[in-house]
Symmetry: C2
Subunit: 399 residues, 2 copies
């Protein structure tokens, strides 16, 4: 399918946005059920759906099972679904050592994946490479490797304090970036709308629209690994923070005050619980300065008490941080994700014990759920963020 | 005005609830502005408003300024307001030593206030006294001391883990209550719908509908005093917690782990920052076991270094707790309330310093605002909670 420019959605009212959102995240879903869940009249639902069907974003042409035809039962109530290949999206995740890019369909289903090594983290070089990666992904869509609709936008996920409204990375300690206008720099290189977002929030948007959020009234996504992050979904929306900051679980002051964080503050959770902190502690206690993270993990799995202690310390402070978060916002479910999940067995016992010690009353009833997780999921989260902006008509994807 | 039984609101649709909520919390407000803010059509707004005017809950009869008449400018656009005296409410706050009761109008404006000493905290005795206090307040309404409409419900605010859906206080350490079915016990004594709520959440509802929440997109109410509590308003709604628990700022594990809290956990904020903890610390460091809280406050104001240190410790851990909360949820505004506000000067310096040290990036931009505050405000919060349930048609006030 040829790549066409931005394809506007025929959504003129808030009701239309609400209806499409239900179809996208809860479909296949009959009109009557949309009416019930939204409180809209059936007529209003039908009116909102008509132009979406006409323009090919939504369909009620369910594949009719053969038996039904044979039995002559006639046309069943056809539930509505989105046409997955009606548009395509690009999601990019930036890490200090690599870029991950995916293309997805309208439901954030991954179509293609590309990884690139990053040798230089200066903003201009990274954006050059992001633009190149985007062009490569656009080509993959054009070549018809996959069934894909017109590209509507590119999402870029970066860790740290991101001003999504202006497309600026305000402060990313991992990247060493301050006030980098990523959207503007990308705009100089590509003629596609670009959305810039905090990476953990992007993951939370993906869970909200296309993951656990479809069934949970509230949840937290907690990522463990090189950083400790948290995305919150409460009262029907991902929490963004009035000043663009929220979910900074890695910077709660729960660790000893003599430890200084990469962010410059004292006693942050990450001073004990980030993978760098675990590695540093293991090097210190074993006296093996040459150890890398894989080596520290191996030692811990072999039962080395120094390495185990470093993971125990991390598990303890993460457990306390989880309890603090749960005591404050009381989510139904906590999804634990991030690259550290691969070694979750090393954290788990101490984490669960400390969590149970500090969770207050019924707040402790929330389920802790592990999510095995790859770097591609971060990039998919960036694409999901673009889908959300597109459906809602938010800048730079407003109709 | 005679006291009539429950008076149903003529609200058949979610749009009607939304429209009345806007008039109640943002009025006086013209129909066209309601349409703009809600995304409803003007016709839908007019349709929802008509029965509310007809039944006397809402009016557009603005007092016409005399000049306008003289100048013959004609009828201005009349903004809609609720009829304050169309209904009345009772709000009750339970403390271990006293009961506070208020009657309010439809906008949570306080009409009458009664305080009663509480000598016995056993649930049956307290509920007896709550029922007596309610009858006294009902009589005050009947006697026509104030302009008051029919009573629609009674709200009871209690500290701790409250299951509002079932009207049960699950765990209130201050009261020494476990699984007390307050709504049911009240129902055996009075024939009025009863809503039971956590006290800090009630205060947050009052701020949301009739206070700072009218202008802030997100805020936290933090109460300091005999307990440390927190109510959160995020994404258009007060945070209730999936399991009924949220905002337990007093039980974040930010204090030294050797201190045991009244809740039985270790290292809770309240072990250092509650007024009891401050008093205990001052007694310990001064060696004056006879000191009461007023005495400790006096000592601190006189510059006694031991008493000052106890308040400094409290300010430090409250500041860290505020930073933790702000880093997680990023509210626009933090309202500091509670009886401890009277001595805020004793906490302030250390509190602000610690907050600034641990607030992450732009999250620290949120304003900290003091709210002078009486026990009557807690009771008013309980009444505001009833108003919200009444407008939304929630149990036990559903239409």
């Amino acid at each position: 399918m040829p790549l066409r420019p931005h394809r506007p959605l025929p959504l003129a009212t808030p009701a239309g946005v609400e209806v499409l959102t239900r179809i996208l995240t809860q479909g296949p879903i009959p009109r009557v059920e949309i009416a019930r869940r939204t409180g809209l009249s059936q007529a209003a639902v039908t009116k909102a759906v008509a132009p979406l069907i006409e323009t090919g974003f939504v369909t009620d042409q369910a594949p009719v099972p053969a038996e039904d035809n044979q039995l002559g039962i006639g046309r069943p109530v056809s539930p509505l679904t989105v046409v997955r290949e009606s548009v395509s999206l690009i999601g990019l995740k930036v890490t200090p050592t690599s870029l991950i890019g995916v293309t997805t369909d309208f439901t954030a289903g991954i179509l293609t994946v590309r990884h690139q090594r990053l040798d230089d983290t200066t903003p201009e070089r990274v954006v050059d490479q992001l633009a190149d990666l985007s062009k490569e992904l656009i080509t993959s869509l054009k070549l018809g490797e996959v069934m894909a609709g017109p590209l509507v936008g590119i999402g870029v996920a970066v860790s740290g304090d991101v001003d999504a409204a202006h497309g600026v990375v305000r402060d990313s300690p991992f990247m060493g970036w301050r006030d980098v206008p990523v959207a503007e720099l990308m705009g100089q290189r590509l003629r596609v709308p670009v959305v810039v977002t905090n990476d953990v929030r992007a993951l939370t948007v993906a869970e909200h629209w296309f993951g656990v959020g479809v069934d949970a009234d509230s949840f937290a996504v907690v990522t463990i690994g090189s950083g400790i992050g948290c995305g919150l979904y409460i009262n029907g929306e991902v929490v963004s923070g009035a000043y663009g900051v929220s979910g900074e679980l890695g910077h709660l002051p729960l660790a000893p005050g003599d430890l200084v964080c990469t962010c410059g503050r004292r006693g942050c959770v990450e001073t004990v619980a980030s993978s760098d902190a675990i590695l540093a502690r293991t090097r210190e206690t074993t006296g093996r300065a040459d150890l890398d993270l894989a080596g520290a993990i191996k030692l811990a799995h072999e039962g080395d008490e120094h390495a185990r202690e470093a993971f125990d310390r991390a598990g303890e402070v993460i457990g306390a941080a989880l309890a603090a978060m749960v005591n404050l916002v009381g989510p139904e479910l906590v999804v634990i994700a991030g690259e550290g999940v691969a070694e979750y067995d090393l954290y788990e016992e101490r984490l669960r014990r400390t969590f149970a010690e500090h969770a207050f009353g019924a707040a402790g009833d929330c389920r802790l759920m592990l999510r095995s997780h790859t770097f591609d999921d971060w990039a998919r989260g960036a694409a999901a963020t673009v889908i959300r902006s597109y459906v809602r008509g938010e800048p730079p994807l407003n109709r």
